[in-house]
Subunit: 153 residues, 3 copies
Amino acid sequence: MSDLLGFSNETFTNFAFYSGLVLSKTLIMGPLTSMFRGRNKVFVNPEDVKRFAAPGTALTASDPTVERIRRCHQNDLENVVPFTLIGLLYVSADPDPDRAINIFRIFAASRFLHTASYLLPLPQPSRATCFIVGWGATAAMAFFVIARTTFFK
Amino acid sequence: MSDLLGFSNETFTNFAFYSGLVLSKTLIMGPLTSMFRGRNKVFVNPEDVKRFAAPGTALTASDPTVERIRRCHQNDLENVVPFTLIGLLYVSADPDPDRAINIFRIFAASRFLHTASYLLPLPQPSRATCFIVGWGATAAMAFFVIARTTFFK
Amino acid sequence: MSDLLGFSNETFTNFAFYSGLVLSKTLIMGPLTSMFRGRNKVFVNPEDVKRFAAPGTALTASDPTVERIRRCHQNDLENVVPFTLIGLLYVSADPDPDRAINIFRIFAASRFLHTASYLLPLPQPSRATCFIVGWGATAAMAFFVIARTTFFK
């Protein structure tokens, strides 16, 4: 039972790998937003215009590409962060390793496909399906954690 | 002192239960937003309109109900996520179990009441009070963690 | 190898200290937003106007100061939260303590300077530099975690 939250536990190692991947993907959205802000000259701060744009560039001009990347980033914050938090509690609840690793894989795949669906974009319901699958993976872990704490303690 | 972050520690079990509850509540805000986007036909992406709305439906029409749910969701991200992160550090700092469990309960109750205050909505200062109580619970844990690392190491 | 995620591990103690600091800084952005909403009378909810403003105050009037604080808060959520999550996995991967503590210090310093750059504001590229340094610290830890799980298991 000891050291469940450590690399000696295969479930934890897999959790670290897949959550490391999806968190890295989330991290990339920030610089991607900045890149498109620079390329499309879409700035929200006067000091950004002063440094990164030609004099006279307008402020807060909304740009569809920038806003799309930001919505995708926000969706990651709303889903990848709860996955990682609930996942840590889930791993510490010592779940069946095979089932746990499958949940991590399904979640990671669904989030990479969600980003592709959002940024290309692919026709709906691609993005909606990816969202629901990833959401279900997290919800299943949350249910397991809550059940573990109330029924088995 | 070992195994503080595991289900053999009653403080951890309670933390897992209450943070599992508030994270689940946060998770529900996403589909709730989607549901009201569908019901009120408020879409921000062209591909969503194409699939989920009648031809000719306008884009990015802002809707008060959808925006209210989104602000409530955002407030959860700003408060429930820091609670869970600081809470993990706090549990690993081996606090007094009774005090810890009370902090978790107060936080969880304040966030469920915050959501009710925001979505019904209840007259202010209901929502402000819930916010401050939950914020105080997290801040108290953060203070304990920082004090533990500097004064007792 | 045991008890990596505990206060007996100096790397963890330092992680708890620095992530406690940056999470506390993030927490402060919420009440700071509320304070400037009250001072500048910028409310998004009808029930807030009813309670906190003179009768007839307009809704959703956007205010540059409030929006600036909110963007700074959002940037924290996008960077401090992934840092803490990846940091926990990183500490559990048993990194070199000196290098790890330096990464935590660099990240914490970069985020405090980022907030100062954003709120004063300082001329660019101050804020951009702080963002990149903090981002790099988190990315380095993420790389270490993923490498640890695939190459050494």
